[in-house]
């Protein structure tokens, strides 16, 4: 393995780590409006936060199990779809996380 490949792998790992925390915030923010999985994925992708389904759906489940999201199965266009939206706890959590995010952002801006 060359140093170039090592650096690229390291960058990928660090990039993924950086994105991981932001994705939770992005998903919570997007779910202020009700979405089902595919439209949520599209919305995030259109906003520059592309996420594959292997990451999104397990994340949705985790957030729901923590009580931050509520979901329901409903028929739309003759197909059963699972719709998600923020719960009351989720709204409160999003508010707190956004404050934290803005704090981190302004600190980083001051350093960079």
């Amino acid at each position: 393995m060359t140093p170039g490949t090592d650096n690229h792998e390291l960058f990928e790992n660090l990039r993924l780590e950086l994105r991981r925390g932001s994705l939770v915030l992005a998903v919570l923010a997007a779910l202020r409006k009700e979405h089902y999985g595919y439209t949520l994925r599209k919305t995030l992708s259109e906003r520059g936060m592309a996420i594959d389904e292997g990451t999104l759906y397990p994340l949705l489940r985790r957030l729901e199990s923590h009580g931050l999201l509520v979901s329901e199965w409903r028929e739309e266009d003759k197909r059963n779809k699972r719709f998600y939206k923020l719960s009351a706890d989720g709204k409160e959590m999003l508010k707190q996380l956004l404050t934290e995010w803005q704090g981190i952002n302004s600190s980083l801006n001051g350093m960079l």
């Binding site: 089902y36 389904e53 489940r61």
Partner: protein, 353 residues
């Protein structure tokens, strides 16, 4: 079954049962929505190749399913040798093997205890530790090989052969089910490697037991020995095992050589049945190592109990084996002519599995 169903089914097999239905419904919906979107963009239905392409982008179904699992345990010796993807299967196989082994050990020691033989605590512990070591080593080795394959070739799940036929190289459960249930037309290389390893280990173990009965009898080998029938049937069993190694080696090189597989399956099953018949006919499977020794009455009682357990186990095996042979024969008879390795591309695509 269409390609989406095949893919989702492959994912479902590796999902935790409690969440399976929910995840499968959502995943299936996501894939179909994406395909519909793509169709709208193109203004025409997607071709089979395009559908395959979209599914391929989603990655190996086994790896996708693993991301839904909250259980992310793995086995590591310095570096990870069995990852979270295979860990649940590893635990299942290990538990089954160890359960079966300890059951045999428990029967032997119970028989010894009932018949008044002296059973030391150290004997029980050393036998259990030996069996644990053997099972742990063999099962871990096999799974580590599979993990290595999965890590090196995560893309090896995709369309193989002609006709857009999906085959998941690493889907153990499905491979086994299909092997029993249908006349599959291509043997996964993973299955072939597993069979070669398992048969080689079994062959080595059987040969070892011939010279060192302690491997199966534990400390009871001091009072007991294997009956002559085991030495008489060693060669037929070894020949069948070697034959299976040859068959798996051929399929490793040529996974599509399956023309006579159904006939071969019936032959192996029937041969196994014949071996079980001769075993039952023998009537005695363990004997006293030294009938003139003190405590001969107790020893005779031990032998009687163990032989009784062997009889029940062999009759159970014979019934199971008989039913399986019958099922295979019925399938072979009902199978339409020409329904073999050279089946049409269209038929394969339609089957989708």
């Amino acid at each position: 079954m269409d390609l989406v169903d095949s893919y989702v089914k492959a994912v479902a097999k590796a999902l935790p049962e409690a969440q399976r239905e929910d995840i499968v419904g959502e995943l299936s919906e996501d894939i179909r929505s994406e395909m519909e979107d793509r169709q709208k963009e193109l203004g025409r239905p997607l071709t089979e190749e395009e559908q395959e392409g979209l599914l391929r982008q989603r990655g190996n179904p086994l790896l996708l399913a693993a991301r839904y699992r909250q259980d992310q345990r793995s086995v590591a010796l310095g570096r990870q040798i069995i990852g979270p993807v295979l860990f649940p299967f590893y635990i299942k196989v290990l538990s089954f093997n160890l359960g079966l082994t300890f059951l045999v050990v428990a029967i032997i020691f119970t028989a010894l205890a009932i018949s008044g033989q002296k059973v030391g605590f150290n004997d029980i512990v050393s036998t259990c530790v030996l069996q644990l070591f053997i099972q742990l080593t063999v099962v871990t080795l096999i799974f580590a090989l599979v993990e290595r394959h999965l890590t090196k070739h995560p893309e090896r799940w995709h369309v193989k052969g002609m006709g857009g036929k999906f085959r998941l190289d690493l889907n153990i459960e499905r491979d086994i089910q299909l092997r029993i249930g249908h006349n599959i037309r291509e043997v996964s290389r993973f299955e072939s490697v597993s069979i070669i390893v398992a048969c080689a280990v079994a062959l080595g173990w059987m040969t070892g037991v011939q010279n060192f009965p302690v491997l199966i009898l534990g400390p009871a080998a001091a009072f007991l020995k294997l009956a002559p029938i085991w030495y008489q049937i060693y060669f037929p069993i070894a020949a069948l095992t070697a034959l299976e190694i040859v068959r798996a080696s051929i399929n490793l090189v040529r996974p599509d050589w399956v023309r006579f597989r159904a006939y071969y399956g019936v032959f192996v099953q029937a041969a196994g049945l014949v071996i079980v018949y001769f075993l039952i006919k023998a009537g005695s499977w363990v004997e006293a190592a030294n009938s003139g020794a003190s405590g001969a009455v107790n020893l005779a009682r031990t032998v009687e109990i163990i032989n009784q357990v062997f009889l029940y186990a062999l009759v159970g095996t014979a019934v199971f084996s008989g039913v399986m042979t019958l099922i295979r024969v019925v399938r072979l008879v009902r199978q339409p002519h020409g329904h073999n390795g050279s089946a049409s591309v269209g038929a394969r695509a339609k089957e989708g599995n």
